[in-house]
């Protein structure tokens, strides 16, 4: 089974994100970038499938600027076989990315597309769902366990208040949740070897997709600063405040 993993380059999860002073977005200049953590989980799952003999080839694809290539290299260092960069300097929104990925899927003909459930930058949580709709493939989102048996997948999904296990027919789009696995550290020798693995580059035009944005960002602002707490003198005062101020009881 050939597996395509879609990955996204985002601001590193450890960086303190700053909103631009004009409120048009967040500062990305000179900010450390990394692979979206959920994408990393998707790559890890694909590599494990390959190690278990379930996947025959793992191809990673990223849509974005030239420097997304670094993120593809990370995936190659983790164990993916080759990479595809769909290069675009335009701002890419979920629907555009889903269309681009559809183009890549038609070229590559994978049986399974794995991706993160959402990216930690804008938390859309749409691209996987849109891709499955565009392809008319089965979808399984928020996967915490994936098992393959002939022609289908059994996927455990993390849903509100519990777990749901579903069966989906292949081909399918599956999005990874946090507990699917713990991604490995790419070993230093593999980081060096990843340089020799091939990365193909293509453009939105090559795939016949118009990636222009459909949504416009009105304003980006920081969450309000946390207010300081207060000490209460007695249980009676606490109950009074919970009732009348916080209005939770």
């Amino acid at each position: 089974m050939k597996v395509l993993v879609a990955i996204k380059r985002v601001i590193d999860a450890y960086v303190k994100v700053r909103v631009k002073s004009d409120g048009s977005g967040v500062e990305t200049q000179n900010v450390k970038m990394s692979m979206n953590p959920f994408c990393e989980i998707a790559v890890e799952e694909a590599v494990r499938m390959k190690e278990a003999g379930i996947a025959s080839e793992v191809v990673v694809v990223s849509c974005g600027q030239q420097n997304s290539q670094e993120t593809i290299r990370t995936a190659l260092a983790m164990g993916a076989d080759r990479g595809i960069l769909v290069q675009s300097d335009a701002e890419l929104q979920p629907l555009a990315i889903a269309k681009l990925l559809k183009g890549v899927v038609e070229k590559e003909q994978p049986e399974l597309v794995l991706m993160g459930k959402q990216a930690v930058d804008n938390d859309f949580n749409q691209t996987g769902q849109m891709l499955s709709a565009l392809l008319d493939w089965s979808q399984a989102t928020f996967a915490s366990k994936i098992e393959k048996s002939d022609g289908k997948l059994t996927v455990t999904r993390e849903i509100d208040g519990g777990l749901e296990t579903i069966e989906v027919a292949l081909p399918a789009v599956v999005t990874a949740d946090l507990r699917l696995n713990e991604p490995r550290y790419a070993s230093l020798p593999n980081i060096m070897k990843a340089k020799k693995k091939p990365i193909d580059t293509m453009s939105a035009e090559d795939l016949g997709v118009d990636p222009s944005p459909r949504l416009s960002v009105v304003k980006v602002s920081e969450p309000p600063a946390r207010q300081g707490g207060a000490k209460v003198g007695s249980v009676a005062e606490l109950v009074e405040k919970l009732k009348n101020e916080a209005k939770v009881i």
Partner: protein, 384 residues
Amino acid sequence: MALDEDTLEQLLDTVRRFVRERLVPNEERVAEEDAIPAELVQEMAELGLFGLSVPQEYEGLGLTMSEEVKVAFELGRTSPAFRSLLGTNNGIGSQGIVLDGTEEQKHKYLPKLARGEIIGSFALTEPDSGSDASSLRTTARRDGDHYVLNGTKRFITNAPEAGLFTVMARTDTAQKGARGISAFLVEAGTPGLRLGKPDRKMGQRGAHTCDVIFEDCRVPAEQLLGGIEGQGFKTAMKVLDRGRLHISAVCVGVAERLIEDALSYAIERKQFGQPIAEFQLIQAMLADSRTEAYAARSMVLDAARRRDAGETVTTEASCCKLFASEMVGRVADRAVQIHGGAGYIADYGVERFYRDVRLFRLYEGTSQIQQLVIARNMIREHSQ
């Protein structure tokens, strides 16, 4: 071959992340148990950290000196005990073989050292010969196709874990100095090789040293490093430059970590109604520490670049070792001072680092030996 910028950055990023996510959270446990958990050793090996300086044809990374010190900056940002375990495989435990080993010796040991399957240990120091290393007394007497080793080695880093010892012994007892010394590759478990009790040290718990005792220990003649007698001491001296730069880089890493910890504490801790970081006397300690760490970092990078360019950097490596090890001592002392009473309490960890870094001024040549090396080279260069 030097790595391109992206690959190096990715490599450093991975080490940084591994240190932050896997090693830093285990510092206290390692000190408490006086051991690095086996699963962490395994992870360090899988990451490739034991083969930084082993050439690629022997399954290592073959990093240049500039690249290696950048990795060491990152490894310095956690307890030195972790670095100590992989230090010998990257330094004195493997470099003798890399530089002067026979092709058979390289093939036999370097891949295993690079993969971390065996720990290499370097046995030079003796009870009566430390800084005066060339006066060592351990003997190796030729007996047919074997050598018979006798003597005691002291404070041998990683000896309790070691699978392979590079042992300096006198093959020519008529030669009192360096020329009578040869290096042997002795595998752990060789009959006649015995380990003493692990030493009880001031710090760096989790890293171990002990005596290594040879009593009529018979070693096959092909285990003579490089196959030539009388070369051992030269080999030892050749590997020192690299080791000294590596240690200097670790000192920089530890200093930067301590500065970060001290700064966070100073910003959080309030006295007289404001963060102590607002007080100028605290600021002076922070600023001096930052300045000195930056100086040491710049020195290490410069010396490493020169070495990669083919210059002899014996003097510069000693300058780095002298300055960086003394610097981290001062930085650790100030970090304790900034922490105040908390700096003396084990829960904060800063007192542990204070004890850990004391070793840097002692091993791989004391500060006084570095001063002698630097001054002697200066005088020699002047008279040339």
